[in-house]
């Protein structure tokens, strides 16, 4: 982890007083970290970049909502996580036919979310297999695993970001890893 001379919280305080350079520094510090977080969550680089832009816009327009009682990164990941979850829900709704749209003569089934077609062509690619398995996890488990195993945040920070007790975070991360392992075993990922 990079150590900066000026803390995120100090930069945010400067930005709250109107220093746009402080805002730019925040953007440079977090744009790639947030993109990786959102990309793992959505599995779509373009939409992930839009979400990261939206996150920084929220920081800009709601700068006074931040109080220095929490770490700045916690606040930022919370915004990005909420936006990503909303986007995922919208995406799933767009890709799923509602049962009410199907007449009684039709076979009642839901069309699942389309998976990455390249996955079938390149099953040996570990990164893609893990990404596929991640997409199969429930959103809560997925968020926590990304924050812990990819973003390498502490359990305490994850607890604050997702708003659940520390014990629940620990147990969900453990269960999430076990689910991931089962999914990878099914497709021969290891």
């Amino acid at each position: 982890m990079l150590e900066y001379q000026i803390s995120d919280e100090e930069l945010m305080a400067r930005f709250q007083e109107g220093d746009i350079n402080a805002y730019n520094q925040i953007v440079y510090r977090y744009k790639d970290k947030l993109l990786n977080f959102v990309h793992r969550f959505l599995n779509d680089i373009d939409r992930a970049e839009d979400i990261v832009q939206d996150t920084f816009m929220k920081v800009y327009t709601h700068k006074h909502s931040y109080r220095e009682i929490a770490k700045f990164s916690t606040w930022l990941y919370t915004i990005a996580g909420n936006l990503a979850r909303t986007e995922l829900r919208k995406f799933k709704r767009r890709n799923t036919y509602s049962l009410s749209d199907i007449s009684y003569n039709d076979k009642e089934y839901e069309i699942p979310v389309i998976k990455d077609p390249s996955l079938d062509l390149d099953k040996n690619n570990l990164g893609k297999k893990i990404q596929w398995a991640m997409n199969e996890l429930p959103p809560d488990f997925k968020t926590m695993i990304i924050l812990r195993d990819i973003q390498e945040l502490s359990y305490e920070d994850i607890s604050r970001i997702v708003g659940v007790p520390l014990g629940t975070v620990k147990s969900r991360i453990n269960r999430g890893r076990l689910k991931l392992q089962n999914l990878l075993n099914k497709i021969g990922g290891r």
């Binding site: 953007v27 992930a48 893990i130 620990k170 076990l178 991931l180 392992q181 075993n185 290891r190």
Partner: protein
């Protein structure tokens, strides 16, 4: 330790957060249960795989696009409600100004109503002063208007009339005694 407990504690073991006693039991179980050992190795390899996944970077236009959005946001016309909220008459914030105006209006209305309600009795001195003048060479009836209790007009007139007639009777009695 059984297989269920082992599974529950895999992540805590990897994070080196397990107590010494549980750690010993965990290691003992791993050595005797090949299935659980496989699970542990599998999870360790998944965590290591995450580190090998290529990270992605934002596009070169990312910051430029963000600043365009910020410029657009800054140049937008504020909605009427927001403008009203930001309006500060005499440097007062809207809520404070509204409170001040409300208080001032209430004060004015209550003062007006208070002074409109005239229930203070009026003293008719001319009517009252006629009675004692009928008495000749007698000490005038000294009635100070301040001594008159503040009662309603009709009650006050009746009580004064009674008092003055009683006084006349007393004078007549004295005069009769003197004549005798």
């Amino acid at each position: 330790m059984n297989c269920y407990n082992f599974e529950e504690n895999i992540s805590v073991f990897i994070e080196s957060d397990l107590s010494l006693k549980l750690r010993k039991e965990f290691i003992q179980h791993r050595e005797t249960c090949p299935g659980c050992e496989d699970k542990l190795n599998g999870i360790v390899s998944i965590i290591n795989s995450f580190k090998q996944i290529e990270s992605v970077a934002t596009s070169t236009d990312f910051v430029k696009n963000l600043h365009q959005r910020i410029d657009k946001y800054n140049s937008r016309k504020e909605p009427l409600f927001t403008r009203l909220l930001n309006f500060q008459p005499f440097g007062l914030k809207p809520v404070a100004a509204l409170g001040f105006v409300t208080a001032f209006t209430l004060l004015t209305i209550s003062s007006f109503l208070l002074f409109q309600d005239d229930n203070i009795p009026k003293l008719n001195v001319s009517e009252f002063s006629q009675k004692p003048s009928t008495l000749s060479n007698q000490a005038p009836l000294m009635v100070n208007s301040q001594q008159v209790p503040a009662v309603k007009d009709s009650t006050r007139k009746d009580s004064l009339r009674d008092a003055s007639s009683r006084f006349d009777d007393q004078i007549l009695m004295v005069n009769q005694k003197e004549n005798k």
